[in-house]
Amino acid sequence: MKKFLALFLALVMMLGCIGIASAEELPTITIMFHGSNVTDDTAVLEKVNEYIADKVGAKLEVIWGTWGDFDQKAADALLMADETVDMVFTCSWSANEYNTFAKNGYFVKLDDLIAEYGADLVAAIPEALMQAATIEGSEGKGIYAINGYKDVATQNCWDVNVTLLNELGYTLDDFKAMDFYSFGELFAKAKEVKGDSFYPFLIEPMVLERMVTNSIIVAGDSGSTNLLSLYLNPEDVSADGAYGNVLLNKFATPEYQKFVEKMHEYYEAGYVDPALAVAETSNDTRTAAQLSANYLIGTQSYALGYEYTASAERGIEVAFVPCTDPYVDTTASQGAMVAINSASNYPVESFKFLALLNSDPYLMTLLNYGVEGIHYTKNADGLIEFTEARGTYTPWTNGMGNVTILPDTAAEGAGFRKTFVEFYGGAKGIPSLGFVFNNTDVSNEMAALSNVAAQYALALDAGAVDPATVLPEFLAALDAAGMQTYLDAANAQLNAYLGK
C-alpha cells in the first residue's frame, strides 16, 4: 500500500511539474465556428500558430461547430461561462443570438480594444457594419462582436431554368416582363411540353411569400415560422413601404390573401410538387429537383456569383432574376459575427487575433481555404483550385469574418471579390435597419403563435390548402393565441426605436 502511495505522490508531482512547465508557453485561445465540415485541421493550425505566435502572442485552437450542433455547444459554453472557449460565432439567427447575449453580459465590450489594437480592423470593415454591431449591451452602447464582411445584403430572386425557358419558346426578357400573378401561362405551357408529372414551380414557400409581398424577416421574430411582416418599397428599398414602418400580422394583409389565393390556383393546376408543402420533405425534394434541373421557375435568396455555380452543378443555364434591389436589413447585417466570451482569460489576445483575421489576407486565406499545396493550388492565372484534401477541411467561408480579403477561386473567376465588394458595399439599408424585436416579454405568446403558424403557414404558402376556408380559421387561431398582444409589443418597440 505504501509503495502505491509513494508512486501516486510521485506521479502527482510529475504532473505538477508539467503543469508549471506549460504555463510558461504561449496561452491557447480557442474559437468556435459555425457550419464547418472539418475532420483534419492539423496542417492548417500548425501554419496558423507559426504565423500568429509573434503577432498575437497566443496559440489558436478551433472548435469546428457543425450546422446541427453549434447552437447547443455555443449556448452551453456561454451560459456556463466556459473559460476554455474564448471566441464564439454569433449572429441574429443562432441560439446564442447576438443582441440577447450581449445584453445579458456574455460578450466582452470591444470598443476599448478596438481603439487600442483595432486600427487595421476598422480600416478593413465598412463603417456600416460596425454600426450594425453597435447595440445597447450589458455595459452600455457599444460593439460586442466583430461583424464579418460577407454577403450582407439580401436579394430574393427568381431562379430561372433558362434552357427550358428557351425550349418553351420564351426568352429571358419575356420572363422579366412577367410577375408572379402572370406565370400561369408559362406553367401551363411547361406542363404541356414536359408532361403531367413535371412540376414547373419549384419553390421555398416561405421565401416565395416574402418575394411576392415584398416583405422581410423581422429580426427577433419567431424563427421557425415568421409571424411579422414589414413591407418594403420594391422601387426603392431605402424608402418606406406601402404601410410605412409598421409591423403587420403576416397572414392578415390583403397582399397575403391575394398571394395564397393565386398559389392555391397554381397548386390545384399541378404546378407545384405536393412534397414541397410538407416541412419534412420540402428541402430534400427541392434540392433533388434543382440538381436534376427538373423545374422551370424556382426561388432563391441570392448570393453573388451563385448563377455560375448553379449552372455548372445543374448542367443548364440558370439565371437569377431579382425581385428588388439588394437591401441590408438587421438579419443580414448581423448575419455572421464573432464575439469574445466574457469568461475568457485572454480577451486581449483574442481580440488581436480577430483583428488580424479580418484584416490580414494571408491568415484569412489560410484558415478559410487551407494550406497552399495541400488543400488548394494556384493555377496559371493565380486563381485558387481546391484539391481533394479540401474535403477534410471545409469551414463555412462566410461564417469566419471578412471574406472580401480572400483571393479569387477558379470556380468564381478572376475579379470576383472586387465585384463582391461593389455589389454588397453599394447595397442600401432599409429604413428600420438595426431594429431587433426583443421578444422576452411576449415569449409565451410567441411560442403559442409559432405552434399555430407551424400548423397552417407552410401548407397555405405552398397553395396546398384552400385559403377560402383555411385562412379565416388560421387567423382566428392566431387571434386566440394572442396575436394582437404580440403585434402591439413589436410595434411599440419599433416606434421607440425609430423615435416616433
Binding site: T30, M32, G35, N37, T39, E61, V62, I63, W64, T66, W67, G68, D69, D71, Q72, K73, D76, L79, M80, D82, T84, V85, W93, D151, T154, E204, M206, V207, R210, I217, G223, S224, A275, A279, T281, S282, N283, D284, T285, T287, A288, A289, Q290, L291, S292, Q300, S301, Y302, A303, Y306, T309, E313, T331, G335, T394, W396, N398
Partner: protein, 306 residues
Amino acid sequence: MVMKKPKANLNGFSTGTEIVFHVILAVFALACIIPFLFVVIISFTSEESIRAIGYSFVPQSWSLQAYDYVFAMGGALWRSYFNSFLITVIGTVASVAICVLYSYPLFRKDFKYRNFFNYFSFITMIFGGGLIPTVVICKTVLGLNDNYAALIIPMLFSPFNIIVMRTFFQTSVPMELIEAATIDGSGEYSTLTRIVLPIVKPGIATIALLNALAFWNEWFLSLLYLNKNMDIMPLQYLLMRMQRNADFLAKNASILGADAAKAVRELPSQTLKMALVVFIVLPISCAYPFFQRYVVAGLTIGSVKG
C-alpha cells in the same frame, strides 16, 4: 365435459385462446420488424427511385450506392465504429460491476448503513442537478472533456438498475444460503463470487443488456463533452450530427440562402442515413440472443427448490 384425448400440454390454453394470443403476438412482432425491414429496403433503394416515388417497400430500382459511400467514408466511419464498441464494452463491464457491488450490500439485511446507501442512490432519481451544473462539474472539476472517460463515466451509476438488481438479489438469493456459506467458512468476497453471482446471472444479464443498449445508443454525452477531439466520436453521434445538420439547414434555409443550398448538397442522402442505421442496429441486435439465453434461464432456475 369429457375429453377424448388428453391435452398435449397440461398448462396449455384452449385452441381459441391460443389463436388469439398468436395473432396478437404476431402483430406485435411485425410492428417491431417491419420498420426495420423498411429501413433496410430504403438503404438499398436508388436515389432516383426515392426522388420519383418516395420511400416504398417496392422501389423502382435498387442500388448499392449508399453502402459504397459508407465504405468510402473509410477512416471516420470505422473509427467511430471502434469507439462505439470500446465505449459499450468498457462501459457495460464497469457499470455492471458497480451495480452488483453496490446493490449486494443493500440486499444484505445485516449491513448496518443499508438505509443510508439506499437513499443515497435513490434520491438522485428524484432530484437531479440539472443539465448545466452537471456539465460544469463534469467539465471543469472532473476533467471529463474530450476524452473517452467523458463518454463513459457519467453513465456508470444507475440507481434504477441498482434497485432492479437489489430486488433480484432479494427474490432469488435466500439468506439461508449465505448463512450456510458463512458456516462453511466462506469469506464475504468468496460468498459473493462463488455462491451468489452464479445464482443471479440472469439478473446480471438483464442489467448488462440494459447498460449495453444505453451505452451503444448514447449520443447526447458526445454532444456535451466532445469539442475538439472528434476522433473519439461514437457512431451514434456521427449519425445524429448528419440528422441535426439536415434539420438545421432545413429550418434556416431562407436565412442562409445560397450557403444553405450549398451545404445541403454536401449532406448525405436519405439512403445513406438508412444504411448507417443498418450499421448501427446490426451489432447490437446480434447481442440480444446472447443475453436472452440467460434471461430465459432466469425464469426456470433457482437455488432452493421446493
